[in-house]
Amino acid sequence: MEENFDPDLIHAIFKLVWSRRNKKVEGNQGIDLEGGAGTSKKTRATTANASALKVSCELLRLFVAEAIQRAALIAEAEGIDIIEPTHLERVLPQLLLDF
């Protein structure tokens, strides 16, 4: 596979997740009376460097590739050349455990 995910897309997904978490943490700090030095670190937004994004893209690419390869093995074993949901179902548990 020559193609890969767009690092900007992955970055956008990460930022969404981080801002979601940030809001939750800020919400909790309002309730949490202890506040103070310990929690101040967490309210700063997380960032990622460019190479980390590239490695993340690679990781997701491997995920997609593995899913297809493992499902394809099952389909091949059944003598079918089209990958069906039942094939994906069979490989899903181990796939999710591995990733």
Partner: protein, 146 residues
């Protein structure tokens, strides 16, 4: 009965501005999910072709959704790792660590990271050499741990 899968139930967020923000975030998530799905569709069809097989639509949709969930989970994991290391910024090692569940996978990522480091001085636009190298490595499925 509540399970761990229930999200956002229990603690009231209170105030309408929170709900608006939540809706905005959901819309953004839907947009990103669609963009990811497009990428996955093209990757999946070309990969299936190289294997000499076709891939049915529901399977591609399922993989795309799973990939989105993986990406979200990855974001959470690397954020925690970086914070744990006292950093604000996620680096390559955080990402590699998040793949610790499969040794082989972690090794592949480390190699990829090494190659990236090696190419640091010149900005690579066409990663053809690296893509070829990786393609050779992932020819067989990743070994499953017993």
């Amino acid at each position: 009965m509540e399970t761990l899968g229930d999200d956002g139930i229990g603690i009231g967020s209170g105030g309408e501005s929170d709900k608006e923000r939540q809706e905005e975030a959901e819309q953004e998530a839907a947009l990103l999910r669609d963009r990811l799905r497009l990428s996955v569709i093209s990757m999946a069809s070309s990969h299936a072709k190289t294997l000499g097989m076709t891939i049915s639509e529901p399977v591609v949709a399922c993989i795309a959704d799973l990939a989105f969930k993986q990406a979200e989970q990855m974001g959470r994991d690397v954020e925690l790792f970086a914070q744990h290391a006292g950093r604000k910024s996620v680096n390559m090692e955080d990402v590699i660590l998040s793949a610790h569940r499969n040794e082989h996978l972690m090794g592949l990522l480390r190699d990829f990271a090494q190659e990236l480091k090696g190419k640091e001085p010149c900005t690579e636009r066409k990663r053809t050499k690296k893509a070829l190298k990786n393609e050779n490595k992932v020819q067989e499925p990743i070994e499953m741990l017993d």
